[in-house]
Structures are given as C-alpha cells and as structure tokens.
C-alpha cells in the first residue's frame, strides 16, 4: 500500500469503506438477510465489479451504500463511510440527500422506469440541478447534451421527450446521464446494460470506461456477466447469498479463482473458459431461507470441494494473499 501511495497522491479519488453491513427484508416467510456482515473496501479511482447470481444481494448492497434501501428492507447495522462525505448511515438527512446525486451517482437496475412520466427529460435535469443548487443551469443542460450525444443519442430530441417516447435502451442511457451529469466522484451502475443489444452494450460500457478514466472517479459496476467484469473492472468482488465469497484484482481472480463458487461462475462462461463445449453450468440453486438458518457454509449444498467442516461452520472472510480475500476453508493462502 504505502509504496503505491505517492503515485496516486494527486488524485481526489474517493474510496468507500463498508463495515459489518447487514440488511434484511421482512417478508411473509421470514427475515431475508440480503446483505449479511459485509466488510468491503472500495478503492478510490478504480472500477470495482460486483458479480453474483440473481438474488445474491448486489442491488441491495448498492442501495445500502446510498442508504436508500426500499421498504420492506432495513439496514440493521454497519457503516458505510464515503471519503469526504462521512458515514452515509448516520449522516443527517439533508447531508445524505446532498451526497446522493452530487457525490454518489447511481444508475438503477430498473433504469427504464427511473423518470417521472409526466415531465420532459430536460425539465427533470433542471429539477436535479435545482435540488443540488447548481447555479449554471444552462451549463448543466449543455453537460447533459454532451453526455447523451456521446452515448449515441439525438440529445435535443431526448431532452424534449417524455419517458414513454424513449425506447428501453434509450431510457437506460438517460439514466446513466443522470448519474454522471453532476460530476459525482463515485458512480454506481447496477446492471447498466441489461436492456441493451450487444452493440449498444459495448458502446455504453466503453463510455463508462472513458468517463471513468477522464474524471478519475470511483466506479462500482454490478453485473451478472463475468465477461463485462473481465473487460472493464480493475477489481472484482464475488457475492453469494448476501455475503462476500471472494475479491481481488480482476486478472488474478480470473486466472486463479480460489472460491469454488467463483470457479463455477468462470467455468459457466465460454468466452473466458475457452470453447462452448467446456462451459459448465453451476448446478443446484441459490441459497434460500432454510440455507440461511444453517450454521455451515452457504455454498455447502452446491460445493464440489466441500469437507465435513464446511457443514458446521461458516468460513470467515479472510485475506488470502495481497489484495485478495476469500471465504473458504479449502483455500490455502498462496504466495
């Protein structure tokens, strides 16, 4: 760490420190621990990819960083400290509101419906500006146009349009524009490309990358797609059942996955593992309420490498080499 610092000393990149974060949803069936005791450092100025199956808690984690977990979810404990802002979970309401949008840009998983259907897009950009006391509203509109243009859209048309006049993919890009237009130092993108075809997907990701580099911001990219992570992310965090399974530098993790779940994820993708015939789908199903009650490893039922110990104890999330953490009893710290 200390050896690297002088190189990054001139950056204003903002890091995020998450400690012991726990979020539960109260449902008819019981309390779903969607995020369970997560400790995570998001490095400033990097692109961190968060990956995991559907339901593993990625969106919930992202919403918890904004302290905006929707009902019936509830942040039970923990802290989320954003450099230069403070602990999002204990900050007063008004400072929280100002941090959202201004310091932390967020692109919704449901970005297709992230606009007020009754007012024009341009008007909503102005609402955003006024909410954050932007003096130069014309300048803000100019920034918005520029971003839309870069994402391959007819900016003037989009700004005068209502949400229902835009296609799903256009809406998603408009959502990205909203997250970037105030120059937030942290941008969280929750599956920003789900509604896009392969070409638009590539171009949007390219824009995310170039804006990230230009502005030296901190980017969190949530996705199902290991390929996207491989292309874009500096670091990758693997989530499973509301807990972290593994994290490390992307190249390292892809080349030497340590957690059996990560291995499974990588093997399931032919683009990375080699040819299609070698792709192996992950068997079994994601953890349910019953699994959460068990004392052992959440992945136990599906794990090809399990041993007796795994059934009785949850493996701790521990350092396994430089910049690397894994929650698995079978991993011997290498190097």
């Amino acid at each position: 760490m200390s050896a690297e610092w002088p190189l990054k000393a001139n950056t204003k990149a903002v890091g995020i420190t998450i400690r012991d974060l726990e979020v539960v949803y109260s449902t008819g069936q019981g309390q779903v621990p969607a995020v369970n005791g997560v400790d995570l450092d998001i490095a400033g100025g990097q692109i961190t990819g968060i990956i995991g199956e559907s339901g593993s808690g990625k969106s919930t984690l992202a919403m918890a960083i904004m302290n905006a977990v929707p009902h019936p979810g509830r942040i039970v404990k923990g802290s989320v400290v954003v450099d230069g802002v403070g602990n999002m979970l204990t900050l007063d309401k008004e400072s929280q509101r100002r941090a959202r949008g201004r310091n932390l840009g967020f692109v919704f998983q449901a970005a297709q419906n992230s606009l007020n259907p009754l007012t024009r897009v341009g008007h909503q950009v102005l609402d955003l500006g006024r909410s954050h006391n932007v003096k130069d509203l014309r300048g803000l509109l100019r920034r918005a146009k520029e971003l839309l243009h870069r994402m391959g859209m007819d900016a003037d048309r989009v700004l005068t349009a209502y949400q229902h006049e835009l296609s799903g993919g256009m809406r998603q890009r408009v959502g990205i524009m909203f997250a970037l237009v105030l120059d937030a130092q942290v941008v969280i993108l929750d599956e920003p490309t789900t509604a896009l075809d392969m070409l638009s997907q590539a171009s949007v990701l390219e824009i995310v990358r170039s804006i990230h580099e230009e502005r030296d911001i901190t980017t969190i990219l949530i996705t199902h797609d290991m390929g996207v992570v491989a292309d874009l992310a500096d670091r990758v965090v693997v989530m499973y059942g509301g807990e972290l399974a593994e994290e490390g530098e992307t190249a390292e993790v892809l080349a030497h996955p340590a957690h059996p779940y990560t291995k499974g994820l990588i093997q399931a993708i032919p683009r990375i593992s080699g040819d299609l015939s070698q792709a192996v789908a992950l068997s079994g199903s994601p953890p349910d309420l019953k699994t959460f009650m068990q004392s052992g490893c959440l992945f136990y039922d599906r794990c090809p490498e399990r041993v007796a110990e795994c059934q009785v104890k949850r493996p701790p999330y521990e350092s396994a080499g430089p910049e690397r953490k894994v929650a698995c009893f079978r991993v011997m710290p290498h190097d």
Binding site: A68, R97, L115, N116, H132, F178
Partner: protein, 330 residues
C-alpha cells in the same frame, strides 16, 4: 395541440350521439309506460270537455308531439323540439315550460354541490397525501380513520346530525329554506349574508360526506405512486423533498380527475337527501317532485339534463387528461 383538438372533436361528436340515444330512450320509455301518459292526458282533457283539436294542441305543447300521429313522426317531432331546447311544458306546474323550471332550480344545486365538492376535494386530497406519506404513524392512521368514518356515515344521517347540533343544540345557524323569506332577494348585504348562512349546513353536509371518499382514493393512489421506480430513483438522485412531493402528487392525482368530473356531472341529479332535509329548492327536490306528481315532461327534462351534464363532464375530464398526461397526448 392539433391532436388534442381532433380528439376533442371526436369526443364531442360521440357525446352528441349519446345524448340523442339517451333522449330517444327517454322518449320510448315514456311511450311504453303502462297507461301511456300521453294518451291518458289526452283522454283526460277530452273528458274535461275540450274538443279533440284543443286537447291535441294542449298535449302537443306539453310533450312536444302529437299523440295520434304515427310513432316515428312523433319521434322526429320530439327530436326537433329538443334540438331547439324546447323540453315541453310541465304537467304539475301547468303551462310552465320545463326548461324554465329546471333553470330555476339548477343554481341552487350548482352552488350547493360545487362549493361542497371543491372544498371536500381540496381537503380530502391534501389529507390523503398526508395519510399516505405518514401511513405508519399515529397521525396518518388518525387521518385515515377520519376518512373511513366520514365515508361510512350516510348523507342524511350526517345532515340530520349537523342540523340537530347547529340549529337545535347550539342554534347558531338557521334551518330550512334557502334564505330568510322576510328579506327582499337581490344584491344587498342582508340577503346575501342570509343566503350564505343558510347554505353553510347543506354545503358542510355535502363536503363532510364526500371528504372521506377523496381521502381514501387519494391515499391509495399516492401509495401506488410511492412504490413506483421513479420515486425511488428521484430519492437516490437527491431530488429535494419539495420536488419529490410535487412528482408524487402530480402522478397520484391523475386518476382522481375522472371521478371529480363525473361528480360534477352527477351533481345535476341534485343532492336528494340534503335538499330534502334543508328544504333547498334544487334539482334533487325537483326530480323528487316530478316523480311524485308523475310529471313526465319534467322528469324527462331532468333526466336529459343529467345525461348531458355527465357526458359534458366526461368530455371535459378527457380533455383535461390529454392536457396533463403526456402519455395520452398522442
């Protein structure tokens, strides 16, 4: 804008057709009534010693058509009369044109219901927003409860209760009649103040008994909107609370427009119970009287008015929608 006008024109055309259909329906209904009132009247006049020609003239003035003509001729005649706003003459108020009677009664109802409607709409909608936003707090629950209770009390019970409390128990307000008969009607201070004082209880009755409906409808509409993605998105973008409330209210109030416009339309049916209790000479009392007296021309006139009012209100609501909701403006 052009689209809106085309749409409006289509609606108006459809509205005219509907009015005609309704008018025809009333026509045939009256003709099919057991003991056909038209020929009954004709026979009655003959019995009173009129010549058939006189009797026929009389009936024609009354109903707008000649009883012994073939049905289709009577029908055409009737429609032409309606297009000239000639609704015939009343039977019970002998010789008075139906249109006059209706126009005399309408202002009482319009003033009564419009005031009550607007007051209850504004208060109910605001309370509904608060009840929805604070739905898990005691304040919110109390507001919702107030709505449910008001909504549950029948109008005539509410009217009698208010009358009892404010005219008997406290005797601070007048009871019965639309104004103090000792005063000369006109634009003078005492008369207007008497008018207002007499209107307070009926208006309050109307307002209180429709308040709950607005409140509960608005509450559920707001709750639906609160669950929409774009509201969460605006929170995550740090949009100011004031702006967010504007977003929510704007989206939530849309479904209420139709109900509001329809209430305005149905207002021309009068407020039976209220007008009855407070002795208000409005359309409700008029309709009641027409039915009592089997005054068919007056009855069909009143029904026709209600029909036209509901249709106009609908067109108005539709127009309003296409102005406030861009998704409809196509």
């Amino acid at each position: 804008m052009k689209n809106i006008l085309v749409r409006l024109a289509k609606r108006i055309f459809a509205g005219i057709i509907m009015v005609l259909v309704m008018a025809s329906f009333t026509f045939f209904l009256v003709r099919m009534m057991p003991g056909n009132p038209v020929s009954a009247k004709y026979n009655e006049l003959i019995m009173r010693g009129m010549t058939p020609v006189q009797a026929m003239d009389e009936v024609r003035v009354m109903y707008g058509f000649i009883p012994h003509q073939p049905l289709w001729q009577q029908y055409l005649h009737y429609l032409v009369q309606i297009l000239h706003l000639n609704l015939g003459t009343s039977i019970s108020y002998e010789g008075v044109p139906v249109l006059h009677i209706i126009l005399d009664a309408a202002p009482w109802t319009i003033i009564l219901v419009t005031t009550g409607l607007i007051a209850s709409f504004i208060v109910g909608v605001l309370a509904g927003v608060i009840a929805a936003v604070k739905r898990s707090s005691p304040t919110g629950n109390a507001i919702t409860l107030s709505g449910s209770i008001m909504h549950g009390i029948p109008q005539f019970v509410m009217g009698l209760f208010l009358a009892y409390v404010f005219t008997t128990l406290w005797a601070i307000l007048p009871f019965g009649a639309p104004y103090n008969a000792a005063l000369t009607p006109g634009f003078n201070g005492p008369f207007i103040s008497s008018l207002v004082r007499h209107a307070i209880l009926p208006v309050a009755t109307y307002a209180l008994s429709s308040y709950g409906g607005w409140l509960l409808t608005m509450k559920s509409s707001v709750i639906t909107v609160l669950g929409d993605d774009f509201i969460l998105a605006s929170e995550v973008r740090g949009i100011k609370a004031k702006t967010r409330v504007r977003y929510i209210a704007h989206n939530a109030i849309l479904p209420l427009f139709t109900i509001f416009a329809l209430s305005i339309g149905f207002m021309f049916g009068g407020s039976l119970f209220i007008e009855d209790i407070f002795d208000y000479p409005g359309l409700g009392n008029l309709l009641l009287h027409a039915i009592d007296a089997r005054d068919y021309p007056l009855m069909s006139g009143a029904f026709l008015l209600i029909t036209v009012a509901v249709i106009v209100a609908n067109i108005f609501a539709d127009f309003l929608y296409s102005v406030v909701d861009p998704r409809i403006r196509r």
